[in-house]
Symmetry: D2
Subunit: 328 residues, 4 copies
């Protein structure tokens, strides 16, 4: 791959949407324009690639979107792209638009699709990690994570008002699929009594003891954060297992739900998305391909799709320990 070759690129968002995807798209389009590249936006991810939904994007087309949640290119999960026929059709469209390279904004599934496709059809890809779950190896933060955590904390702050007024126990379930990042950060940020995540063993006896001790010590209410992917069945599963013994605390379950995916991105997500979108174009120009961009120790980096897909990223155990010390 040679720098001179990259003249026309395509960009799309795929998989679950995340706040900041628009900021990343804006950065891709403007950095590309600054480098005299032509950019095409593909609607609805791999679905639009198969259906040929391409549109030319210039600087002004990404004006006034940096602050918007969701993705103006829309997104989808594509079953057809899992078939060789679907991918062949997509490749045809890319060729008909003379696309030299693609930038894919999404998570694990997106990168898996990109890897298979680029190997099959020899079109270079750069990935930008966009998912609220922060579960991608290779980057300290994914786009949307900080916004989701802030939204969850804001919700828990509100729930505390009512928990506090009623002296109650609340089990609050947050998103994150199989990963506990959102739950752990929400728990620390909201001063929760406890946090239950898939990455750490859950001892229900300990949990019950902590809650009882807290009450004995004068703590008037308790909030426990549970990751949706918790193997005991999320917040509802935990509640079922403890409610008899803690009935006097009137345990309530609340699932924060899809609002965690939306909303104006935070400052950090806008900055991260801008940096990663900008870097993705620069890395393409530098001749890199089939890697994702990321941020590690505040610096831009790249990592292979394989690593992103197969290696596991886990919350630091030091943070888990700290959370329990500060919750006392």
């Amino acid at each position: 791959m040679d720098r001179k070759d990259i003249r026309r690129i395509a960009v799309f968002t795929s998989g679950g949407d995340a706040p900041g995807m628009n900021a990343a798209l804006r950065a891709v389009v403007r950095t590309a324009a600054w480098n005299k590249l032509h950019v095409y936006g593909i609607e609805r991810g791999f679905e639009g690639m198969i259906d040929g939904h391409f549109k030319r994007m210039e600087r002004r087309d990404v004006a006034n979107i940096i602050q918007r949640g969701g993705t103006v290119l829309r997104t989808a999960r594509s079953k057809r792209f899992m078939t060789p026929e679907g991918r062949a059709q997509a490749a045809e469209h890319l060729r008909s638009y003379d696309i030299d390279a693609c930038i894919a904004i999404g998570g694990n599934g997106t990168f898996t699709g990109a890897k298979v496709f680029s190997e099959e059809h020899n079109i270079p890809f750069i990935g930008i990690p966009g998912t609220i779950d922060n579960d991608l190896f290779g980057t300290d933060y994914t786009i949307g994570f900080d916004t989701a955590v802030n939204t969850a904390i804001d919700a828990v702050d509100k729930i505390r008002d009512t928990a506090d007024s009623h002296n109650r126990l609340f089990l609050v379930e947050v998103m994150g699929r199989n990963s506990g990042f959102i739950a752990l950060h929400t728990a620390i940020g909201s001063g929760a009594s406890s946090v239950l995540i898939p990455e750490a063993e859950t001892n229900l006896e300990d949990l019950k003891n902590v809650l009882k001790k807290n009450k004995a010590r004068g703590k008037l209410f308790s909030v426990v954060i549970v990751a949706e992917g918790h193997p005991m069945g999320g917040a509802a599963g935990i509640a079922e297992r403890i409610q008899d013994e803690l009935a006097s605390m009137e345990p309530k379950v609340t699932v924060i739900g899809h609002l965690q995916r939306g909303g104006a991105p935070t400052a950090l997500d806008r900055l991260l998305a801008s940096r990663l979108g900008h870097a993705a174009v620069n890395k393409l120009m530098d001749g890199e391909e089939n890697v994702a961009v990321g941020i590690v120790n505040s610096l831009i980096t790249t990592y292979s799709f394989d690593d992103a897909i197969h290696r596991e990223k886990k919350p630091e155990s030091a943070l888990i320990t700290m959370a329990s010390i500060l919750a006392i």
Copy 2:
């Protein structure tokens, strides 16, 4: 009852908490202080009245609480107060503190307790309507309703980001117990496609047709607001009944939940709570008793506990009609 008699009053919050209760408490305490009354705050509503949890409250004790959700006096539902023995004990405590009258901040259940108690023990009460549900006859607005609606709309605004990005159908359940006020106002304010409330008949065929027509017309996603008290079983119940036929829209259910009870009160709730708290003391001074204060057509008014408890308040049908015209 003669004005000179009111020298010492007690105030408490009871039932479900609502944002703005603190602002009402502040207004009660400061208006009372301005009128040289002594004020006692009772903790945890009727429970604290039975247990004698009274504390003297002066002007500075309600500083810096106008912006806080929940209630600093805490609240509870009291089973003991439903027994004559419990109420006798409460009356004893009021007498031992020489309380001439009580101000109760709460909803239907609170007013019912106040009515029974004041008849039994001859202690004058004034009620202040505090409930997010807005289901109290006699007042156009209850304290907390505007905040709850704003919280729900903010959540739906966020859900729209992701609904829009995925071209999906969302069924969003909001609070309100048996009443559809929160649902109707949330639906109008969030531009929802449809709203299902207990006070209006639900025709599922119409609903499905509207959603299909919208899609045919180019509407890319739909949000339907469902009141938690909807007789078909809230949002989950509706989803079950329509999901087969609308499977292509990938219907998702989300329950906004307890965060609707919390948060800093809105401007309107702070103003309303301030006016009602101020009026409650003034009405007591004027010799009124066993009524609740309210706001009708922007003016302070009073209404009997009986009316508040037994008469029904329903959303205006004109608003329901307008909601469906604007949703098209």
Copy 3:
């Protein structure tokens, strides 16, 4: 004017923008569409009318704007419209598009222009009151007022954090042009120590005494809200007059500024704008003309442009009194 005649209408926003204008526009377009009227949107108010910037608007053109601040039709102040020549050109454009009636969303200046124009060129107008200042006679609330007050209160809540931490005096200036509505409602809602508005006499000696007494009583910080139109020169003017005597409180001036005009509209502003936009079309269909729609005591009403322009609306004195009692 006869109901049958109204087939095609134009709508525009003019003067200062206000949150909720988009919700009003949406309601106009959708109610008109429901009544089979054709709607044209005019860009940049009277400027666009003179320049012929009209565009057909259908139901889907106002999708997804109810939550946006500002106005998608943009707005402007037009000097040319103050000349007979400018207005003649505007009338020509309206005729060339066969417009039967206009709906103008704006404040005092907008209604003045509408009145002069409709008299000169015999085109019926309906006004919708949109201004954050709430200074229009004939309606209890104008579109944007509730949002502006909430924004101001949110800002003061933040300023209190720092005022409280430093034991300081803050003079906070809010918008409102010559009117004190925003200031008064912000002061009540934020629990300010005092409020200075053009509609009430300001006694600086009293102000200084209140602040000193508060300090003596243990109040650790004070926030004074000043209307921008205060005749002593806003917050800066007041500060100059009191700072020597209150130097120990380290008085700081902060001007909240233009952010009060923007942001997603509140629930109340979305509902109000929806109701007024809906009513404006209905009133046109009913044959009314050259009036503005409004809301008085929760009911839709109309009032002449003359009243809106020439009669004065003032904050209730009872609220001013209450504010000072609760501030103690």
Copy 4:
């Protein structure tokens, strides 16, 4: 210094307040309690140290403060502490309470005071960097910076609504004292047209050309972010220099002001403050002294007070370049 020696510590906040200081305080108190240390909180920083305003703080005393802006210990700037007599008096109080070490939460001025004092009176200090300005060498982020940037961006998002509606130029001044971090991050996050900071040369001709070119290219409004410490006199100074030439854009100045200091801390600030408060106690237990804790490349680190005070931290030039590319 030996671990066994640290039995009683004091903690205080000093200088300008910053959101997250309460979260840091909570982490200090709870980590200390977990380590069986006794903690005293000192009110109003060095002022309270001189006046002997100490209070015992236990776990429950820092409950429910993680989400609050400002500082519950209050803060002050102390002239008396700049004199040897003032410091001697402070040392006396520390000795009378048997304090083995102090933890100081604040910025540059706080660390300077700590350094002088600990040298004079041989009491070990650990500093925690709390300032919205992010201008402290030795740590990537200071507590409060992320919140301030989010508040500023939220304000600019609102100002854009009105700027966009009117096709106007806004010059928005943000805080940061002599540093441009807040301005640069706000500009990137809000998609501003340009940013003017003390650390980069300002070429007014370039600025005017960019704004004119943007307008020619169809950009309908422009927002320029100016750091308060900009040597040309902040936003007002810049406006004065460009307004004649750009009069057609109706340039407006708005100063966001003190609200940037307040508000509930963001997720990141709560996490950062928790980590730094936790680390400060751990470092004390490890025998470190007269250093500040910080975070560099996501890892906890320490640095001498001298470095914090005398070495300069500047925004990365790569970010400044990126900001201008993305603004196009």
